[in-house]
Symmetry: C2
Subunit: 350 residues, 2 copies
């Protein structure tokens, strides 16, 4: 026998039980003037007893917003779930959101168009008060769209290829990014310091702004140091393409002595690809992974990696969004600079 599910208590129940009107209950629970301290306490106690929680639906309807923020991930299903980045980011986001009892509406879609459609739908359905946008890309349509809808948003990641360029102003949109240029500089510095002069960067998706930014930073840094045999190749972030790219660049006439991978998964795949070729890491080839994870620490040798606190990054982004929801102005801020953790996969070239 299914027990009849408990009925959710409403403000009316509280009102009846506390012997006051519904409005008084509303005032009491929302800390608005209009009730005495005694009544406020009594109402609070009754609400507590009944286990009352405001219905977000009703709240949303009376103009208070939905107490929810959205996050859309536009990645083909195949490349999903390979990186630890997102779950960590999300866990940080949660941390900040839960303090304010905000929910996180999560959606995985195939592509950018579907992502935009999702925003439109969420907006029309009153589902979210704001959104977190990841993977900014070239000619990104999302900031304009979100601005048009009046949906507060925080873009996570650099919005421009060029570190120096000002991104177009979007009044309702904050931007938080990691300093890719400094990070790339520290990687190149580490490798160059070890004596490497031929470095290849196995990058991620070419459409993403941060990919372009990293590539640009790499070129700039190489130029500054007078390194001429430095290049980037792009991939889709998958282990397959990471391995494939590794094989390709290692097959060249003058193969690189060091590889920089744009994520942990590709770095590990690259390590295996090098082993296939009979190359020993780090003796014959040095490898650096952008973003640390268990993967990087579990390989043999363990992976020199760019460590950043992804959860904190997510937390900061969520805090920015909360600030926007509270009516503060949009900001553009740079997050902490990632730190390079040298491990076993990098050494002087042979």
């Amino acid at each position: 026998m299914r027990r009849t599910p408990a009925r959710r208590p409403t403000m009316k129940d509280i009102a009846r039980r506390a012997g006051v009107s519904e409005s008084a209950v509303s005032f009491a629970l929302n800390d608005r003037p209009g009730v005495s301290a005694a009544t406020r306490d009594r109402v609070r106690r009754v609400a507590e007893e009944l286990g009352w929680q405001a219905s977000t639906a009703a709240r949303a309807l009376s103009g208070e917003g939905s107490a929810t923020v959205g996050l859309v991930l536009a990645r083909p299903a195949s490349t999903l779930g390979v990186e630890s980045f997102f779950l960590q980011l999300v866990s940080g986001v949660q941390e900040a959101l839960s303090r304010r009892r905000l929910g996180l509406l999560f959606q995985v879609v195939e592509d950018l168009d579907a992502e935009c459609a999702t925003y439109r739908r969420w907006w029309a359905e009153h589902r979210v008060d704001g959104v977190l946008v990841v993977d900014p890309c070239r000619d990104d349509p999302r900031p304009d769209l979100l601005d048009e809808l009046g949906l507060p948003a925080v873009v996570i990641g650099s919005m421009t290829d060029d570190p120096a360029a000002e991104p177009p102003a979007h009044p309702g949109i904050s931007n938080l990014w990691a300093d890719d240029a400094a990070a790339m500089a520290s990687i190149v510095g580490h490798l160059h310091g070890l004596g490497h002069r031929r470095i290849t960067h196995i990058a991620g998706l070419p459409g993403l702004a941060h990919t372009r930014r990293r590539m640009r930073s790499l070129r700039a840094e190489a130029e500054r140091r007078g390194l001429t045999e430095v290049a980037s190749v792009t991939t889709d972030y998958s282990d397959a393409q990471g391995a494939e790219a590794t094989r390709r660049v290692l097959a060249r006439d003058r193969p690189p002595t060091a590889l920089v991978f744009d994520n942990d998964v590709m770095a590990v795949a690259g390590l295996a690809a090098a082993a296939e070729r009979g190359l020993s890491v780090p003796a014959d080839l040095s490898i650096v992974a952008w973003d640390d994870s268990v993967l990087c620490r579990s390989t043999h040798p363990s992976m020199t990696a760019l460590v950043r606190d992804t959860a904190a990054f997510g937390r900061h982004a969520a805090e920015r969004l909360i600030a926007l929801l509270d009516g503060e102005a949009a900001v553009r801020v740079q997050d902490d600079v990632p730190r390079l953790a040298p491990r076993g996969s990098t050494a002087p070239p042979r």
Copy 2:
């Protein structure tokens, strides 16, 4: 200048524009009788023009449910994002949900108590119509709670230690699980077939039902085959404890010749730990990983692993939940049996 955000069109707008009453609009848009085909079409066209979408808040308030399902992950932040399992599961879940325009409300919490509190809150706030529950454990308080709240749910994973035992009936709760017994049997069969007689199972969290189920299945299978030197040890799924457990069991007098790890991360860590001891895989030690991933395919040698379609698993779970929401009865079904993919990490013992 911030443009004034576009106002969301409501049914009233449609009604005015189509020259009918709001009720007629509601009937038309919901395919209810009470309007002529002509009116229905006209209303539909106007709604389309205006880009109208029903406000989920208003819908929820008038008893239609919130068009949202919830998923809580109770894991300390530290162990989060190490496995690819969850994102893959979620992407499958999405696939099924998005067909019905259901949103996924996602929450990461520290422990089971917080998870239960989340369910209570969601229920009281009318936030979700149903939930997906992962990581069922011993004396799990969640099914009872969800039943009490009348919140439809699908439990993902086996709810009992004993494959033969009937779990307590929860009328509003479906259960979907992978056949751990069969999977364990195939692993033991593979290893025994290669000639291994001393097998140690490096299991996951001892509190989880599926951990206990796997351990039980291992014992049963060993008994059936007359293997006496077979055992399980439990861990917290982390690479650290995986490595630590590996070192411990390999230091025994009669160390095992084969190890079975409950996740990919520990298997890789175990591989490294074996290498430290000077053991060569698979010559001196065979290793099997439960759940395949990039990691398993990227090690050297590549890892013999239990392959299952996690995204499909998530999709099936979400479909079960949708069935519950549609008023169908709860079911208990077993999902596809995982398949063992023999790779380089297993071979006959020396």
